[in-house]
Structures are given as structure tokens and as C-alpha cells.
Symmetry: C2
Subunit: 355 residues, 2 copies
Amino acid sequence: MAALAGVSVSAVSKVVNDRPGISPPTRQRVLDAAEKLRWSPSATAVALRGARTRAIGMVAGRSADVLAADPHFSVLISGIEAELAPADYGLLLHIVGEEPDAEERAYRRLAEERRVDGVILTESRIGDTRFELLRQLGLPAVLVGTPWQPDPIVSVRAGGDDLDQGAGLRAAVDHLVELGHRRIAYVSGPEDRVHTVARRRLFEAALDARGLRPTRIVISEFTADAAVRALRRLLAEPERRPTAVLFANDTMAVAGMSAARRLGFEVPRDLSVIGYDDLPVGSLVYPRLTTVSQDLVQLGRAAATAMFRLLGEAAGTAGEPGADGSGADGPGADGPPAVRPPTLVVRESTGPAAG
Amino acid sequence: MAALAGVSVSAVSKVVNDRPGISPPTRQRVLDAAEKLRWSPSATAVALRGARTRAIGMVAGRSADVLAADPHFSVLISGIEAELAPADYGLLLHIVGEEPDAEERAYRRLAEERRVDGVILTESRIGDTRFELLRQLGLPAVLVGTPWQPDPIVSVRAGGDDLDQGAGLRAAVDHLVELGHRRIAYVSGPEDRVHTVARRRLFEAALDARGLRPTRIVISEFTADAAVRALRRLLAEPERRPTAVLFANDTMAVAGMSAARRLGFEVPRDLSVIGYDDLPVGSLVYPRLTTVSQDLVQLGRAAATAMFRLLGEAAGTAGEPGADGSGADGPGADGPPAVRPPTLVVRESTGPAAG
């Protein structure tokens, strides 16, 4: 187009980016050339900027109802948006379903068609191949969570080391033990997730530190129905019945609590219940849910901030100081804000162990 | 670029879109030219396609926690994604905060920088200026809900005419009256929303049809805290106390139900409670929430399908048959699927009126 307009590429760049230092006639020649070639100035600008899109991608290899079924996602996205919005970035959501390759195909398209400047990953899985794929694609990536094995990908999580990670579950176990509970069960999620296995182990370690073993551990799904089934199993056999149950997330805990009350068990009189995440639903219900609180909003913010930093560095190395999305215009220049370790929030669903 | 490469624009188009009919040397000349000008083939392709982005925009003039605080949004987005994903479209979310002009600025940027092919609007408001703005910007738009005044904007809603719209609330009132309730209150949301006012009026009409007047109508906010405050006011004065309360959404209803039980009122023994939307939380809690169900997922699907149809027609008139995003590759070719009218889902939170 520069050739057709008979001007320099930098002149084209100035025109399409609306920067000063261009004479009206030159500007007109560029716009005429653009029209002849049917470029849209915006797309031209995108190309000259090195295809900055001011969009961050998030791909979920889940069914489309993941946002409705798993509030965890919505809260995380709220945090991400809280950083993207002031920097005039949008979040490009692709919920691609659960076919094995759908997520990989989506990342390939995002990279090859330059639809986003980078992607934020969640749900770190055992044997996760996404980190390597994204490096091959040259797509900047930030993981919310811990990689399943040592990996150079930038990741953010609640608290720093494993000790931090376990703080919330240790506090939950201590809380229950101090209330006289000795028969404590755990309802876990699908163990293909890194955090699912990690939390179950942290729970076992916390019990062990108090000289206890889990009464029972049920490997379940992250759904309300699965939680109800798990709870029915836990309460079925009087001699093995726990006096307290921890659930891998709040939705499961609330569903389990309701199922217990439907079976005639008062919460917390007959059964204490603890959730994980501290989602809004926990304070909506009666009794209010005692839960391990991780700051998901702050996690989302930290992920977005880490992404801005990646993009800023990328722009820097690409010799494009001040390019859109550089750390300078995102809040990311100072690096990701720290995210506090998980803590216990004691509400109404825990009480003294039934004698 | 065509000029620099010394080939035709259509040849450039074929190369960047990877279509047949181009000799290797020609192809190479184009790629060389692209490299000289630092175009990315992808961005070039976007420009030649008329800047199709395969992204649909959604701007929320709300605080970043809207997704966390208002599950209604998440469910709607789930429906939108269910149509976008198979067509390889993404949803570009911009949650821009509540400053008066933030939403308008966001739409202007999306249009001027061609970041999306169209936008889906929600939360139709009284005096809404967005429809006119989007027409000025030439940005295809679909509204979920009913415009505040007759407007050419394409809109989708649950059920067709006003009679349909009221079906759920009429069924709710009939259900309560048949259970012996005569003192029925309504907790509404902020009345700057079109649907808020419409629902409150439909409730009044439904009562009127049974020869009743509302015991009380409280104009509130769409938040749990506001719902708790409203319920406390309703239960404060024994002589004016209702035996049943309808809430403008499920979150408010669940919060109100918990507040009532905390005040010593058993649900449904002392107070029947009905929500609106049929969000997942309603079946999580105990007692399960009786609610007016509108198919939000289907509403989202219908909005996305209507958008594909708009884009298809746009591509058609632009003489780009088969251009990406045309109705042909989206599920939208057949027009938006119908969305059923609201219906009542009777669960556990309603029962015979306290004598």
C-alpha cells in the first residue's frame, strides 16, 4: 500500500494510527491507496502495530454452560476484566466444548489469525499439553494455578509456596478439631485437575498433623448432583458416618448441605459442612457456609497483570516502545500483585461435633 | 501491497486466504511484499474480508463483578457461546464500569477499530440511547429484551406478545391464590430497567385478574443485601405482613428466604417465596426455590442466531457471498429459534397460606 501511495511505510503507519507529522496531501494519498486496496484503516493499523488486538483470549474446553454451572469461572473473569477494562482490553471467550482436540484447535486459530495478544489458562490438568502448544504457537500465556510439572509458563496462584497453599485447609481442619470433630470426610473433585489432587493431599496432611486420618474420601465431580450422591454415601452407614464434611468447592458444599437437611440432618447440629472458594452463594444460603476463601477476583487481576507485563516485555524486545498493550499502558508494569494465601471464613455451617 | 508485488488485489486475496489458482512464484511475490510491508497475512486477510473479526461484542456498563454478582449474565452468555462456538466465533466481553459514558466510549472503539462484527445488548433501559448510537456507528446489534420504545433494533425475548410475557407471573399468582394466599407482596428491582417495570406491572395485572391488590410493593436493588432489607421491612409489621413474597430475581429470592428463616419464619410454612429466572442456585438450596423460569440459555442462543442472520444479510448486501460470518456458516441462516414464554416451576418454597 505504501508503494501504491508512493510514501514510506512509516508515513502509512502515522496516518492509520492518526499520529502527527503528516501533510494533508500525503495523508490523502495514503487513504486513497487504502481505499483502492479495500484496506480498513483499523485492520491496517492492526497489521502495522504487529497485530495488537487489545484482546486477551480465554478458551474453556468445557460445555457452553460452564459459566452458568461453575461460578468459579465467573468470579475469576470478573477479576480479569477489572484489569483489562481500564487498559481498554477485552476478554475474548471461546467455550469450545469437551471434544479432545477442540481446545487445541481453538488456540491454533487464535494464534494463526492473530485474534488475541495472549491467552489466560485455567484448570491446570495432569499431563497438560497446552503450555508446550502455546510456546510452539508463540502465543503469550499466563496460567491461573500450578503447572502439573515444572514449566516455564508464567503462573499465578493464591499464596506462594505449598505451605501457603495449605493454609486454608489447615485452618479448616484445626477449626473442626477444636470443635471436637474426629470423624472428618472429604468430597474431592475429578483428580485429573492439578488443584484437586493438591487440595486432597493438603487436607490429608492437615489431618495427619493433628494425628487423624480421613474417615472417608469420596472422589466426585464438580457438580451439585455428584455432591448429593457423595453425601448420601457418607451418611448411609451410621458406624462410618462423619460428623464433618469438607467439599472441594462451594457449589458442592451448598448442594451437600441441602441434601443432608433433606435427609433429616440439621447443619451444623448433626453435621458440619465446609466449602472451598468463598463464592457469593455461600453467604446467600441459610445456614451461611463456612468455607476456605481464596481471592479469585485478585487471582484474575494478577493473571491479567502478568499478561500485560508479558506483552509489555514482548513489545519492548520487538523494539516497539509505547506499542499498544505495552506494560506502560496496562496496570502490569509493576508486575502481578501478590495474591493472599487461602484463609478460613467461619460462618454458620460448622459447630460442635454431635456427641 | 498488490502494487508492490506487481499482482492483482484478487491474487493477494487468494494468497492470504490460501485459496487455489495462484502460481508458486506469484504466491512468493505476494508473501515477499507482505514481509516488506510487515503485514501479517492474518491481518491482511481480515482487511480483505472486510475486517470480519469472528468476534461478537458484549459491553456491560456495570462493575467488573457483574458476572460474579449476577448469574443471570453468566447463563445468558452460556447460551450465546453455545451458538458462537460451533461457528468458530468468540464473545468479546468489555465490562467497562458504571461511569455514564463508559459504555458509549466502548461501543465507539469497537466500531472504529473494527474489533467485532456486531454487538449483543442486554439490560434494555428506559431512555436507552445505545440503539441510536449503534446505528450511527453502523455496528450490527441485537437486543436481549424489549426496547423501551418502538425501535427497529432486532430484539429477542422470552415469548412473543405481552400476554406471553406475563404467563409466568400469572401462573405464580394463580399458584399462590390456589394455596389460599391473599396477602402477596412483590420485591422489585431498580425501575430504570424496562423489564423491571414490565414485570411489576404484569404482577399487578395478574393479582387484579384474581380481584386482589398487592399487599405491598418494595422497589429494591438486584442485590442480596437489598433483598434482605426489603424482606425485613415486609415482615416488620404483623398487621401488614404478607403470607407470600415474589422477588424480581432468584438471587434476591434465595437471600430473602434465608433472611426470613433467620428471623424465625419457616419457608414455606410461615412464608411462601417465589423467584424469577430459574438460575441453578434455586435447586441448590433447601427448601428448593419455586420460581418463574425463563429459558435464558435459549435467549442467548436466539440472540447469537439473530446476530448471525444480520451478519449474513450484511455480507450478502456487501456482495460477499460466503464471506466468513455469513448466515451460511453460522446456525443463523434459519433465523432465531423461538424462545418459550416464562413458565412457573413449583418446588419447595411455596405452600398453603398460614391460617
